[in-house]
Symmetry: C2
Subunit: 280 residues, 2 copies
């Protein structure tokens, strides 16, 4: 039986981890990698993330499945460069914002395309950051799935289910608003937290005292600036709305402390505690 | 050899974990517990956190070491209730703010007293939250140590070193400012983050998408409102200053997104990345 050919464009944390997860589950795959970063290409080969490297779009288009695990702006540019794709080819992007990507897909390859956002990651990046279990037991959001071909829907669902993910389907517009609240705004908050401490006199001695709380809250402030610049650009409106909602609560907190409204502050914190009930 | 008697006032996460850590390290201790919560008392006995429960201050004062692992306001009230202590008794508080506590210790027991802040914890509370390794490899800040008796300094240093902690000494004023930045303000941010999401329409479906980043950043929003009301009250001035520093950075972030200053935003995120270099 010939192997299933998977093209991975972007050999970083997400693309590399996807290869490891698929390899763990089956030997049926052959991986062709593409990355504009020569070091990442050689690292991906050394680490066994891919079987070969190519810079040929023609070769890439022979793959059964093509994964776009690159920044959102690059996904949009790349999608436009596909003048045609074989009918059986499934093109899946893993971008963190979805509406602009979904709108940018040319009609002639729309059925080939599946918009996916795996809700997982770490603050690390590049091929060496790849983890076999990055996707296990995590949620993947599939957007505007009704616009994908029947074959492509099945291929994408099987791919993500095979690596242990839970499927959630929604429209790309709804996704982008949800992602702004659950991921993009919290990243802006974490970057702000890190910078507010770094800016302090004696920041090293402050950080020396860091317990688990601060470490947890500043972890994602180590994320890739290039990737996040792109996400904030793509999802600007929703991010600003989520930041505004956060600032309402932060102002409320500051005012209650300032005005010594301790009972109200206590009740407000109790409300925050209730997150426990809806977050497993 | 008779056992070393340790009184633990407050049988929650911090007090309970201290008992487990000491028991792991030696059989030389006998634990006497005190807690106004009857359920916590029976749980602490069942879980083996203490050997006996008392509500007698007279009995408590026969201990070699007394640990106050209760909210800061209660620590201040309790310290004032000790009219005298045997010269060899060491009274250690584990409160999260230190200046007001340090100033409130009556002169006649000042040498008995050691102000300590272990920089560790979890969002859970009560005796059932106790963890044997909560203190292992963490930092404990000892404040205004020159005001403690020589014997008490040695006892406290040995106690925390024995359970695997790293000692850091500083003044209580400096501690409170550092703690505001590294712990108290981040808690206010986490409570605000949790409430900003809970307040959204469809918050359950938003939270269903939560990846590691949001989970990390909202974990401490599950912390005890009573404990944190107390900390915000005790350290109000420093907390407001730290919140203001955070808001400067958050405003900067929002403005750069609003004005589409992507290069500046990227550089700002790179600065946040540098936290990686100073945080192990």
């Amino acid at each position: 039986m010939s192997k299933i050919k998977i093209g991975i464009v972007g050999l970083g944390l997400m693309g590399g981890s996807l290869s490891l997860a698929l390899q763990k589950q089956s030997e049926a795959y052959y991986f062709i990698g593409m990355d504009h970063n020569a070091l990442h290409c050689s690292q991906a080969l050394e680490l066994g993330l891919v079987d070969e490297i190519t810079d040929s779009l023609v070769l890439l288009k022979t793959c059964d499945i093509i994964i776009l695990s690159i920044p959102v702006d690059s996904i949009i540019a790349m999608i436009k460069s596909f003048d045609s794709l074989p009918q059986t080819c499934t093109l899946i992007d893993l971008g963190s914002t979805k509406e602009k990507i979904s709108l940018s897909v040319p009609a002639h390859i729309r059925e080939n395309f599946v918009a996916a956002h795996p809700m997982t990651g770490t603050e690390k990046f590049g091929p060496t950051a790849a983890l076999e279990d990055l996707y296990m037991d995590k949620v993947v959001v599939l957007c505007d799935l009704e616009k994908s071909g029947t074959h492509q829907q099945e291929v994408a669902k099987k791919l993500f289910t095979d690596i242990g993910m839970q499927l959630v389907c929604m429209g790309s517009k709804e996704h982008d608003r949800h992602a702004a609240f659950i991921s993009h705004m919290p990243h802006a908050v974490s970057f702000s937290l890190a910078n507010s401490v770094i800016t302090q006199e004696g920041s090293k001695s402050i950080v020396a005292l860091a317990g688990g709380g601060f470490k947890d809250m500043s972890r994602i402030a180590k994320s890739s600036p290039n990737m996040w610049e792109d996400i904030f650009r793509q999802n600007k409106t929703n991010v600003l709305e989520a930041l505004a909602a956060f600032e309402v609560e932060l102002d409320r907190c500051r005012e209650m402390v300032q005005n010594e409204e301790w009972e109200r502050l206590n009740a407000w914190m109790q409300k925050a505690n209730s997150l426990h009930d809806i977050l497993s």
